[in-house]
Symmetry: C2
């Protein structure tokens, strides 16, 4: 498999999809990708004209970035036969937004199976935020609000562990809600055999030739039931998480 | 109906369940409640010895507060027949924690229906955080991580609007994830006819004699599809939300 799993599209105050551009460009070049198939279903709040208009705006934003990086973009929401579009794609790119809405739509259109099958056979897959979450066995470590009920919490299962994107160490000062670490510990209590990776903003995971690497500006935090969390620095081979 | 829906158990740095004690005491006295039936299923991370031990610790913590306020506490998790315990209760008290786990357990034990039926007929109901969330039509405005898949997102539906407990205005500085307001706006996009109330910490909603009031130290933020959010000060009658 060939995966690029990005924590977040954009650092606060920066241009859209700026920080991961060099990594996206490498990914495109290494895999000789000239056109990507984009999945915009997580992006629902970009237009007051309805979901289709919101997807249009989302696809346009991402198109302009990919154009700079030398690749065309087609969006599944523009096709009458999204399954066929996935079957013919050179690469799949899944944008962030609301994970529940993304999963709901992928399940409604029957796209989960098609994407899973092709990516497991080598189709390059890239996602950020919600798009990285769906590479996991389930959506259970998303930060998003459950605004719509999907058919199932199961997602693509491309990797055997869970990612928590936008991983954050602390709450705003004075706020009494659960910290991210407390939330992940709750997940581990009812899912004792699944590891969770806290992927901080400005970081990504790369899966290639059976190897898993952490790339970016911050360390990654690995949570496992009954163990102290581990910090792992960027650049390390963390392929043990794949087994 | 007779409801006390509390945003959060505890202000950062304070003693457990300290700030809402006067309100809880009033509620107990006004309704001549001498014993409450406690639902601990949201509290799963209080012991490493397993869920039952965690519920024990949770029930004990809450028992000691209610004792000070003059009421006994029995916890549903200690009963062989939790439905019967609810049927015989003088009041139901639902503690906070993970909303998905709470809903999963209430559905598994068939308690949703029993609680709904009795509370709609006048049984006093009190909840905080996750416990307030389940008074809404669904769990869709929880802040919690979806660590377990419930049978359905539907909850008690005691009130016709959604509460977002622990409502928070801003993200920690420099963090690029969605703000709470953005998340709620996403909810409204796919649930256009449901209002959402952002209930800040230190605040609660009281439903009594068909009237709804906001009580506490901060204003409440009401979100409605296609409208600017409204701030409503404590002490106001906001019964319009019930219609």
């Amino acid at each position: 498999m060939n995966l690029l799993l990005i924590s977040n599209s954009t650092m606060a105050g920066e241009e859209y999809l700026l920080w991961p551009r060099p990594h996206i460009q490498n990914f495109l070049q290494e895999n000789s990708i000239t056109e990507v198939c984009f999945v915009p279903y997580a992006g629902i709040s970009l237009s007051s004209e309805g979901l289709e208009a919101s997807y249009d705006i989302y696809a346009e934003k991402v198109t302009s970035v990919f154009k700079m990086l030398g690749a065309k973009l087609v969006s599944v929401h523009t096709s009458d036969d999204p399954k066929q579009m996935i079957r013919e794609a050179q690469a799949v790119v899944v944008g962030g937004g609301n994970t529940f809405h993304l999963v709901f739509q992928l399940q409604s259109f029957g796209l989960m199976e098609v994407i899973r099958e092709r990516v497991k056979k080598g189709l390059p897959f890239m996602g950020w935020s919600a798009g990285s979450n769906i590479a996991c066995p389930s959506l259970m470590t998303t930060n998003d609000m459950p605004i719509i009920e999907p058919i199932s919490f199961k997602t693509l299962g491309l990797i055997p562990f869970q990612i928590n994107p936008h991983y954050l160490d602390a709450n705003p000062t004075g706020h009494g809600g659960e910290t991210r670490e407390q939330r992940i510990n709750e997940f581990l209590i009812v899912n004792k055999n699944t590891k969770v990776v806290g992927l901080r903003e400005g970081c990504l995971l790369s899966v290639k030739d059976g190897k898993l690497k952490i790339i970016g500006s911050k360390s990654l935090r690995v949570f496992e039931y009954g163990q102290e969390p581990k910090e792992i620095d960027p650049g390390q081979d963390i392929s043990f998480l794949l087994h």
